[in-house]
């Protein structure tokens, strides 16, 4: 067992850090305040390959791996959680299922532009009545000649406001439950497809979170992803991978908060001493660093397991459960070390605390992760 990064991963880390510091960090506050998606950054992410990291070059990807992808989301997450989730949702939830379950034609048509970052992807599973209970899909798909006709709506869809390609999960046969669920590749310009309400959120405010509306939406037959009735499995497998992305994001948010706090406690003086000289500060910092490193090991392990084509699902669930919990805990404690200044929007720490919370909720709540882990131990 070797816990050191390979040379190529070290070089990548250096590149991600430089990019995040120079291109992403300066926009983080504005993106949050103005609740706008940083599209200028998305273009740059595409230019340097960050929207197609783990996919083979023949599909427009970078020929790197899931560890490289996880590290990218982590480094972006350190400075801007909004930017990191754009990459995560695009890569894990849209490009990846097309890569894993798509036909060669679908890969060429959709994965290539997604991986190159010419098109942005999103994933529509959640509905008003189907959150954690994803099997309760109300969106229906009916085959009509050469097309599937989709009707229904999705909510809380990340990247929806600017995405071009959507993976949509819908019921093709309600009578057989989850075995009657199928997945589709839907383009934003397909007739009957539209974007609804934009959510106003507590954190990741620059991330576009919208409702999707399908009214007799016409989807060509060849845009069925995988086979009829396999949609639920595709969705669950997609979320297994997505959790590596969100775990990386959570890890990054926590690490970013700690970086800011270390800087702050070395400067801030109270009672004639720098905050860093108080043992309470030292113990807090040491404790948080230890937990963050533990989270990092879990996250990297899950990513490496996916690269090794192992059973990464439960590992990704553990990584997300622990990293999300750590992100929320660490950002809260970091804010406490900042005192009153931390509560103001002059400092990034309050934003980080708001951003951290979502990682305990989306792509499976922490409770769902526990269900996945328990089930993997056959405790159910």
């Amino acid at each position: 067992m070797d816990f050191t990064l390979s040379n190529e991963h070290k070089l990548l880390q250096e590149m991600y850090r430089k990019f995040a510091e120079t291109e992403v960090k300066p926009l983080a506050e504005e993106v949050d305040e103005e609740e706008r998606a940083p599209m200028e950054t998305v273009e740059k992410l595409a230019k340097y390959g960050m929207l197609g990291i783990p996919f083979p070059k023949k599909y427009g990807g970078q020929g790197a791996d899931n560890l490289a992808y996880s590290m990218c989301v982590e480094e972006l997450g350190k400075v801007c959680a909004t930017t990191s989730v754009i990459v995560s949702a695009h890569t894990s939830l849209c490009a990846n299922p097309i890569y894993e379950f798509g036909t060669e034609e679908q890969r060429m048509k959709y994965l290539v532009p997604l991986a190159k970052g010419e098109k942005i992807g999103a994933f529509g599973l959640t509905e008003p009545g189907a959150g954690t209970d994803a099997s309760g899909q109300q969106t229906k798909a009916v085959l009509d000649g050469d097309n599937w006709i989709l009707n229904g709506s999705k909510i809380f869809i990340t990247n929806a406001g600017f995405a071009d390609i959507f993976i949509i999960i819908a019921m093709t046969d309600k009578s057989i439950g989850t075995k009657g669920i199928s997945a589709f590749i839907v383009e934003k310009d397909f007739p009957g497809f539209s974007i609804g309400k934009h959510e106003k959120k507590m954190g990741i405010k620059g991330s576009s979170t919208c409702e999707l509306i399908m009214e007799n939406c016409i989807v060509p037959k060849e845009n069925l992803l995988g086979q009829v009735g396999k949609g639920f499995g595709i969705a669950m497998k997609t979320l297994d991978g997505g959790r590596i992305g969100i775990a990386s994001q959570a890890l990054g948010i926590g690490e970013g908060a700690l970086d800011e706090t270390i800087k702050y406690v070395k400067e801030r003086k109270q009672c004639g001493k720098r905050l860093s000289q108080f043992q309470n500060t030292q113990f807090e910092i040491a404790d948080m660093k230890t937990t963050l490193d533990a989270a990092q090991l879990l996250v990297y392990r899950a990513a490496c397991c996916k690269d090794a084509k192992g059973n990464y699902g439960p590992l990704a669930a553990m990584a997300k459960l622990f990293a999300a919990n750590t992100a929320s805990d660490v950002t809260r404690r970091c804010l406490q070390l900042h005192g009153g200044y931390g509560y103001t929007r002059e400092y990034p720490i309050e934003r980080m605390m708001r951003d951290a919370k979502i990682t305990e909720i989306y792509e499976g709540t922490s409770e769902v992760q526990k269900m996945v882990v328990a089930a993997s131990l056959k405790v159910n």
Binding site: E8, L12, M15, Y48, G52, A64
Partner: protein, 265 residues
């Protein structure tokens, strides 16, 4: 067209500490980077290659210890095609003359059409190695380039001067020294980082590989005519005063007054 960029790995600061005993830089604990002028040179070379789009290649050459490998990998990850590290214990302690002697031998081995070097390195600040390489190779050179273009079989360089620019035409092969302003360097790409280690290699050339290209008496510490006598931190110069459109008499009077004021005369 074979475009070769010479780069140097330097400590990432302009204020590295000096060892007061040996008068050399203390490099421990200081992260290393590609010298900024050299990095602009890499970017200019990559842009030139992309613009020519005729199968031209970008080759990176560096002289340094084995650790300089990572600087070459970075250049490969930015998009360079191949990289050579000139490294041997016999090269250690080289001053600019010995360094340029070795690099020129390396370039003869590697081949070149256009050579781009940085103007100067932020650790030594001599701005000598580039021009010396051109002298060793007997090719024309243009220093302080702000722009480099290839027009037909000529290289056209916009050279920065204190108060003006010179547009110079050079035949190929030639050497150009680049300013950091020449081109803002791109980031490495994700695929580039992977390929830098998995698909490309850094070839090392040592004394044995290059010995036919130089006189062994001219390399390394023994081949270096420069001896560092003393190093010290320079005091910052004031901004200076500029008096425009004054008569010669007034100018003389102003200068005399200033010199007297400071008890110089």
């Amino acid at each position: 067209m074979k475009i070769v960029v010479c780069v140097k790995q330097v400590p990432d600061t302009t204020e590295v500490k000096l060892d007061p005993v040996t008068n050399t830089l203390i490099r421990d604990g200081v992260p290393s980077i590609i010298n900024p002028d050299d990095k602009a040179g890499i970017e200019a070379a990559l842009q030139l290659k992309e613009k020519l789009n005729d199968g031209s290649t970008v080759t990176i050459v560096s002289m340094g210890p084995p650790q300089a490998d990572v600087a070459l990998r970075e250049a490969l990850a930015m998009g360079a095609d191949e990289a050579y590290l000139l490294s041997d214990r016999a090269f250690g302690g080289s001053d600019t003359f010995a360094t340029s002697t070795i690099i020129a031998a390396g370039l003869k081995k590697v081949g070149y059409d256009i050579i781009i070097t940085g103007r100067q390195a932020i650790d030594g600040d001599t701005a000598q190695v580039g021009p010396q390489i051109a002298e060793h190779l007997g090719i024309p050179q243009a220093s302080y380039a702000e722009e480099i273009n290839v027009e037909g079989n000529k290289v056209v360089v916009k050279r920065q001067y204190e108060d003006r620019h010179h547009i110079l035409e050079l035949p190929i092969p030639c050497l150009v020294t680049a300013l950091a302003e020449l081109a803002a360097p791109r980031y490495m790409s994700v695929a580039g980082c992977f390929d830098a280690y998995r698909a490309k290699e850094v070839k090392t050339l040592g004394f044995e590989d290059l010995k036919d290209g130089f006189d062994p008496a001219n390399i390394g510490l023994k081949g270096s005519p420069t001896n560092v006598f003393k190093s010290f931190t320079k005091q910052a110069k004031g901004a200076g005063e500029i008096h425009k459109e004054i008569s010669a008499e007034d100018a003389v009077a102003t200068i005399i007054a200033k010199l007297e004021e400071r008890h110089i005369i």
